[in-house]
Symmetry: C2
Subunit: 238 residues, 2 copies
């Protein structure tokens, strides 16, 4: 891959750019304390996130109509609270607040300084399955210096379907091979590569906390493999 | 209007946030010198911009298919060069370069400091008839601290049709009355108000240069009238 032929870097957000587990667990723990509910907040965050892929697949396969990530998060939260015997502890207002936990998440420590360097040379887009409103607020609150927000919502399809990847190239008026998809997840990079994008794997070994393994190696054909956004900047001469 | 009920400020770009006339005239003058063509660059920029409204109206009325602003700019440039007897001086490559002049324009001096203050309290969106790629590059090059880009292109309709205004509220998940449209143009604010948005008129008396009058007064019903983005920040307690 020639770094000169790249024009746009598209970043996955949850797990790749921000630490969803720490952020969601903290907010769950705080509300649980206020409600006097006993919750293992880290495990709760894990179980909630585990429902993300399957819930999204229901939309991708047409078993659910299009709904944005907030709606999917609320749906899986309701199920999870029921399963965990916690349905009585959190009312509708509490659940709305918990869904908004996904709008306020801490960036990995290397994310902002890495993006600052990369932004000097490339157009930086946030490309996530999160909704446009969620992403705009999350990026703003975390101080992430993206040039634009491109939610999967704009295409009406979720990654790893090709539409969100191709829409990013189309909206920014570049060919797919001028876009580098940056993600910590093999499934995302496979989708991006199938759509014709370049791919960069960023290892985020702590994404799922200390006790569960995150994706450790890139999928076949990845153009770049790094351990941080700073390393990505160095590898692209930024 | 209660500033506490506002959530999003949507800014028009050409004329409102950036000084298109100075920027386009400089780039026209530079290329004309290189080609040995005699062009009054300020008058040329004016004549080109004069074709913007009518060309957009052809799309709005269905007489032209949807095309983005770059394509409309190229179309009116070709016509203008013909009319001015300059068609022989600028080849296809030159014309592509001239169209890109609209992607690199200087911000009005109050724009960046005003946006920095306003951004602490509100979500700031660029909402222009410029295409998504154009706006992303323009905002990046001018260092404008927007939280997101919302081009009319995303709705497939041009302002002042209601779709671009309503899409902004919808994508950011707020009711139309929680969005303040900020513009220097009466036609834009009328469209925004008809769609249910709040409106702020920013006077930009030099938009069309020293010899032609810009809009001087707000349309009926405007919620705020100011002379700069800094004054807007002060009026919203930012």
């Amino acid at each position: 891959m020639d770094a000169n032929e790249l024009k746009v870097l598209a970043f996955d957000i949850f797990g790749t750019t921000v630490d969803w587990r720490t952020g969601v667990a903290e907010q769950v723990a705080r509300l649980a304390r206020a409600r006097g509910a006993e919750v293992d907040a880290g495990a709760f965050a894990d179980a909630w996130r585990d429902r993300y892929g399957p819930s999204m697949d229901l939309v991708r396969l047409g078993e659910l109509p299009w709904m944005n990530l907030d709606a999917l998060h609320r749906r899986s939260l309701d199920e999870l609270l029921e399963t965990e015997g916690l349905a009585g502890s959190f009312d509708g207002h509490d659940r709305d607040e918990l869904v908004l936990a996904w709008h306020r998440l801490p960036a990995w420590p290397d994310a902002v300084p890495g993006l600052v360097r990369l932004r000097r040379r490339y157009v930086l887009a946030a490309l996530s399955n999160g909704g446009f409103a969620l992403l705009t607020r999350l990026v703003k609150a975390a101080g992430l210096p993206f040039d634009c927000i491109v939610s999967a919502e704009l295409s009406g399809r979720y990654k790893p379907d090709p539409e969100p990847y191709l829409l990013t190239a189309q909206l920014l008026d570049v060919p797919p091979e001028a876009v580098l998809m940056v993600a910590a997840h093999v499934w995302d990079l496979r989708g991006a590569r199938a759509a014709g994008l370049r791919t960069a794997f960023v290892g985020r070994p702590m994404e799922k906390g200390p006790d569960r393994a995150a994706d450790q190696a890139p999928p076949e054909g990845a153009d770049v493999t790094v351990a941080s956004f700073l390393e990505l900047a160095a590898s692209l001469d930024c």
